[in-house]
Amino acid sequence: MNTDKELTGAQIVLEALKEQEVDTIFGYPGGAVLPIYDAIFGQNFLKHVLVRAEAGAVHAAEGYARSSGEVGVLLVTSGPGATNVVTGLTDALMDSIPIVCITGQVPTHLIGTDAFQECDTTGITRPCTKYNYLVKDISKLSEIIHEAFEIARSGRPGPVLIDIPKNIQLQKTIYKSRKDINFRPHRIKSGSTEISKDFIESLVSHIKSSVKPVLYVGGGCLNSGLKASEELIKFAELTNIPVTTTLHGLGCYPGNGKLSIGMLGMHGTYEANLAMHNCDLMINVGARFDDRITGRLDAFSPNSTKFHFDIDKSSINKNVNVDFSTNTDIAHALSALNLYIESNNIEFNHNQISNWWGEIKEWQNTNCLNYEQGDEIIKPQHAIARLNELTKDRETIVTTEVGQHQMWAAQYFQFNKPNSWITSGGLGTMGFGMPAAIGAQMANPDALVIDIAGEASFLMNIQEIATAVQYKLPIKIFILNNEYMGMVRQWQELMHGSRYSESYVDALPDFVKLAESFHAVGLRAKNLSELDDTISEMKSINRPVIVDIWVDKKENVFPMIPSGAAHNEMLLSKYDKEKPENQEKGKVLV
């Protein structure tokens, strides 16, 4: 491309995406983005995936980003196109997913006149993006797009929105290449790559004296890249410290690794939560002390010295005060830590924590994830366990919707490497999973991509099955169908006297026929004897499949730390009569 040639704003968008090596964009056309769609027509480096509603585009971009480590990109029109992505942008902000969202806007001379499909996109999205732009001057367009990508992926990643008025898309100027742009450092805010020696020395000396240490690993480790995960595994093995992960941290340390004690938090394992409660040293690697993790704050891990690795300074001391912290990027921090340990021949006495491991083993013996699978009705936990078992031969990526099925997926599916688990953790967006699966399948054409879903969540973005069919994406929608908004029903049972107000999902569609009407494949398992065969059949079909698994309608997710309770007050099962006293207090929490 002759860089001295004048291009239209729309062509500049495409040129910048090309230079950013973007090969996939999710989008939905409309009046205010037609010039960009015109530029997409007839080019061949960029594959456009036409979603069926803009919400699908943003979740697909999230799934793409999470499963590839690249920035996810989407393109939508002004007004309703932009407002429809607000939920997804908020989701990406909460879960630190790098997204660039391009929106069309009415021409600059019409801004402020309540023009057709006009809305204050930058105003609406300011609190739900890491940053956003309204482009009013064509000469700044190239620089803005490139800066948007830098901002989206640097430091704690997040969504960036660029609002481009239609007349700017049609004006002409000379394209400015990324390499000719001097980014202003205060605007990019990359994480530090240097870590203080004091922090490392303090940590090492605390580990040496600790008899009850625990590693608490979150999504920040994932965002720091595969190297972070490798260094984490190495560090854990050098020190023999038990590892618990958050919902987003699953896979950073292998679920089948010998030091893994499972997920922690509201529906975490008994051993993980008790280890957190009783530890004397907590090493937080890229987690943010979310309320789903800590339970009651004044009873959270009362006797531990806390170290916190987090690239985001505002995560330090936000919910829980810590004793030592670093804002160094985790891959660099852990790598420096491991190097320090090895080059100084520091040996950790694993015997020192053998009693601690003994205690943990005892907690593990309670077998907190136990369930009783009868002869006929499929237990949802069993459905996930079998899905896990029967897909071990394939490179599998799991996405989820939000609710009980999401927690069972986290508990009963084993994640042994990073980027194979994509879920909406912070915002908890129902309808996330299927479009996210579409994005993940676009980025990983050979992987087996499964959206573990509930029937209620699935209905929220059901239109996207048409997208999967159109692009021949063989995603699997694995519905644990209990005819309820299960998690709502569970909370109503536990905290609202079993008054199941509006949580029963009446008039459900026939999911098999529904699949067929979309030209996808529908399968169903009504009882235990059909489960394995249905999963195997699902796997063998190289097309989008909706699998309707009829599960026990009354099953609840356990263990559970009720809202407002402490880690050592968890309910182990429905047979657990020792309910915490402050149940009423918990009612006001979410």
Partner: protein, 178 residues
């Protein structure tokens, strides 16, 4: 009344005070104030006073000075969140500096009914070394500058005069470290 000495003795007031006056340097771009204000309202913090002005035309920078309330940890959080905003160059709490100086300017309109009231107000205005910016029958506008505390005291004293009406505009505190 005196036109001289409108600026009282400077004082190093922020350090060790319980006030949190934050000083920010930001890119002067559309939406920057909305970003700052949105951060405060969205996270449940309060802005007690706010001042925004372009301070560097060449580099296109503005200085935002704002007063907020909160425990030390809350203020640390606010600063960490402010520093994360893309157009923010720096955010400091003036109270954290060893030496910083404060000023505020205020215009105060007094409407009086009789000469006794006016004389009382005049006497106070003289004590506080204000400047008279406008004087008409029944209405005087004074200008006072100095620390917020000084402005507060002047206002308290004025409010002690029975029967006058006081209308106020204040710039809010601004400050600069040494």
């Amino acid at each position: 009344m005196s036109d001289a000495s409108v600026y009282p003795e400077p004082s190093n007031t922020f350090k060790n005070s319980k006030r949190n006056v934050l000083s920010l340097i930001v890119d002067n771009e559309p939406g920057i104030l909305a970003r700052i204000v949105g951060l405060f309202s969205g996270r449940g913090y309060n802005i007690e006073a706010l001042n925004v002005t372009v301070v560097d035309i060449k580099e296109n920078l503005s200085r935002i000075t704002l007063e907020t309330i909160g425990e030390e940890k809350v203020i640390e959080q606010i600063i960490a969140h402010l520093e994360k905003l893309v157009p923010v160059h720096s955010a400091i709490n003036l109270a954290d500096l060893n030496e910083s100086y404060e000023a505020e300017i205020s215009l105060i309109k007094i409407s009086y009914e009789n000469n006794e009231q006016n004389n009382k107000a005049l006497a106070l205005a003289d004590i506080y070394r204000t400047r008279t910016v406008s004087k008409k029958e029944g209405i005087v506008i004074y200008e006072i500058s100095g620390t917020s505390e000084r402005v507060n005291k002047f206002l308290d004293d004025l409010n002690g005069i029975n029967g006058i009406k006081v209308e106020i505009v204040r710039s809010g505190p601004i400050g600069l470290g040494v």
